[in-house]
């Protein structure tokens, strides 16, 4: 097991270098506009642009640029002529001139609160719903639940977010019970921050809760057909125990895998719609602004950062899976 983890860590590292390479090609070799021009702004003259080009190192060869970029990302390296330090140096924002790394780290708490709160909400909804639907298969309750979940899966997040605000937000809502747009930025205590997150949590969790509930239901229905469930019943176990222990233990395992990857993707800025609709200053909203302003270093930093999350959580999921399913043993 230890050898497996070491090997996976090495692979993860190689994967990150490869991803960095792809990101470099996207942002340095094929930029959609001249980075120096973007950085200089609209009124700059040719000399200023040239000076910026030199300071960003854009006049150097591609390989040399790649070397500086990789050094900045992976090593504790002071770039000459700047106050920037590696590792995780992705450049300075064209917009605010702030170190991209600092911006991402300052955005992360909001995103983390949004994502982990939403995870709790969607698991709290999905697990009981999935179980009840599975054991009451084809009942009216099951059919109602399945139709409802389909509605939530189909509803776009931005639409659902706006509807939620329109109905429940304290500033614009018909039934103003939850804090509304921008309340996260104003909240100064943790409880207040959590309160401001209630609507975003529900909106972000809705579709995922629905997907997980359906997935858990179908997993449980499959597992209930297994011979070992018949054995559990033949042993004389109460039905409640058969479901809660024997069926759920098998059915929940693939859900855990799914969960790890979903969390990674959301932390990497995929909560972009929810954060934008509710004006939460997180990684997703930052991504949206960066794209809007062609802030290349920002986009590049977030992309790499997201890749880090996904590669790392993938590794974690694989290791956790080996503990959950004893038949899986990595050699």
């Amino acid at each position: 097991m230890a050898r497996y983890i070491v090997r996976r860590l090495l692979w993860a590292f190689l994967m990150l270098i490869a991803v960095s390479g792809v990101v470099f090609v996207l942002f340095y070799v094929f930029p959609s506009a001249d980075p120096a021009q973007l950085r200089a702004g609209r009124q700059a003259n040719e000399d200023q642009i040239q000076a910026i080009r030199e300071s960003l190192g854009l006049d150097k060869s591609v390989l040399e640029q790649f070397w500086i970029y990789i050094k900045g990302v992976f090593t504790p390296f002071d770039l000459p002529g700047t106050d920037a330090t590696g590792p995780l140096y992705f450049g300075h924002s064209y917009q605010s001139n702030a170190d991209v790394k600092d911006v991402i780290f300052s955005d992360l708490p909001a995103t983390a609160l949004l994502v982990f709160g939403a995870v709790i909400v969607w698991m709290a909804i999905a697990i009981p719903t999935g179980i009840i639907s599975a054991i009451r298969q084809r009942s009216l309750l099951d059919r109602t639940t399945m139709v409802t979940t389909l509605v939530f899966i189909s509803a776009p997040v931005f639409w659902l977010g706006l509807v939620a605000l329109y109905l429940f937000a304290q500033d614009v809502g018909i039934i103003p019970i939850f804090p509304g747009i921008g309340s996260y930025a104003d909240a100064d205590s943790f409880p207040a921050k959590c309160a401001s997150m209630i609507l975003p949590w529900l909106v972000l969790a809705a579709a995922t809760a629905a997907i997980y509930a359906r997935y858990l239901r179908s997993q449980m229905i499959d597992v209930m057909q297994e011979d070992y469930i018949r054995t559990a019943r033949a042993k004389g176990l109460p039905e409640r125990r058969v479901i809660a222990k024997h069926v759920l233990r098998s059915a929940i395992t693939p859900i855990v895998t799914l969960l790890g990857l979903d969390v990674a993707v959301l932390l990497a800025g995929n909560a972009i719609l929810t954060e934008t609709v509710f004006n939460i200053p997180g990684v997703g909203a930052e991504t949206f602004n960066a794209i809007k302003r062609s802030d290349l270093p920002m986009i590049q930093g977030i992309t790499l950062f997201g890749a880090f999350f996904i590669v790392t959580l993938n590794l974690v999921v694989d290791i956790v899976y080996a503990y959950l399913d004893p038949r899986v043993r990595y050699e």
Binding site: Y228, K235, T253, P326
Partner: protein, 349 residues
């Protein structure tokens, strides 16, 4: 008459309502098992032998199932009692083991934990007492190094060892009756013999009754006291082991006997088989359900025969209209492999 049987099934019918129609999986089965006795139930897939036995423990109860008749165990009708009372009997008074021991054990729980769970669901004992009992049981069924193997998962056991674990789990609460549903089918031949011998030994030592379900008469020949042959949801012949093997009355039984490999007969190039397919359980043939596959069909066969003593003697009953003398004439050929379309081929060189 002998004392009241341990388990008595009277006119059991298990019908499933499906989109295609009503499947009469079990259609009027009666049987009795006495204490310490081994009853063999033989039949091909879909003959209703598994469904009938799962029904004893209420494991076929479902929204689309109609179950009628009577299943009396220790004075209680198991068809009338509720789920809670059934749970008290399952794995306690009556235990069950299944065909494929790999899929019948939970892959995510350690063998020891599964055994301990089976003990503690019926007995109020401490974890350490349950553990000690579980180790004893594993030793009883012949698993070496039992204490260490308690901590292993089912996939770390071989097929035969897994079936031993299943048997140990079935024995946890000293059942009066063990239902073994094709316990050797998924195992290789040498392991089959070991498991059969184990079941036979445990039956003698623990004095429990056993219902051994199989499609292989060879398995039953080793160990059963009495044999019941099932076909299309019905019992077509029942009698003692000797009666069934040496004086079989039903052409279907002849077919089953003919399809055995035998050391006392010339080796056929191909084993004999029963022609045709098992009948539909939704629309079985009218009259005798076997008649469309039976080479001896005659006019009377369009009437449905009852299970009663005909050509046999001493409680040996069957469902075949053929006259006793006629049976004796034709079955000689049949039991050497001439039933159906497959005639005996040249002996193998």
């Amino acid at each position: 008459m002998s004392p009241a049987p341990l388990l008595e099934i009277e006119d059991l019918k298990v019908h499933f309502d499906t989109d295609e129609g009503v499947v009469k999986a079990v259609d009027g089965v009666s049987l009795a098992v006495h204490e310490g006795e081994m009853l063999g139930v033989v039949g091909e897939s879909g003959s209703g032998k598994s469904v009938a036995n799962l029904t004893i423990l209420g494991l076929t109860r479902a929204a689309n199932a109609t179950i009628t008749g009577r299943i009396t165990f220790e004075g209680e009708d198991l068809l009338q009692i509720g789920e809670d009372e059934l749970q008290r009997i399952r794995g306690n008074g009556i235990s069950m083991i299944f065909q494929d021991p790999l899929s019948a054990l939970h892959p995510f729980f350690k063998v020891g934990a599964q055994l301990i769970e089976a003990i503690q669901v019926h007995q109020d004992v401490s974890d350490s007492a349950a553990r000690a009992h579980a180790v004893e049981l594993l030793e009883l069924v012949g698993i070496p190094d039992a204490a260490r193997r308690m901590g292993e998962y089912p996939h770390e056991f071989s097929g035969g060892m897994r079936q031993r674990v299943m048997i140990a789990m079935a024995l946890t609460n000293d059942p009066k009756l063990l239902i073994a549903d094709e316990p050797t089918t998924a195992l290789d031949v040498t392991t089959q013999a070991q498991i059969l011998r184990l079941i036979e030994r445990l039956r003698r030592e623990l004095g429990m009754a056993v219902i051994l379900i199989t499609h292989d008469l060879g398995v039953i020949a080793e160990v059963a006291d009495r044999v019941m042959v099932m076909y299309a949801g019905e019992v077509v012949e029942s009698g003692s082991l000797d009666q069934i093997f040496y004086d079989p009355q039903h052409p279907y039984t002849w077919g089953l006997l003919g399809s055995l490999t035998r050391v006392d007969q010339p080796r056929l190039a191909r084993l004999a088989q029963i022609a045709g397919q098992p009948p539909s359980l939704i629309n079985p043939p009218s009259g005798c359900h076997f008649r469309n596959r039976c080479p001896h069909e005659f006019a009377k066969c369009t009437e449905h025969p009852e299970l009663e003593q005909r050509g046999g003697e001493g409680g040996h009953r069957d469902r075949c209209w053929l006259a006793a003398e006629r049976k004796r004439e034709v079955r000689v050929v049949a039991s050497t492999g001439a039933i159906g379309l497959e005639a005996p081929k040249e002996p193998a060189p």
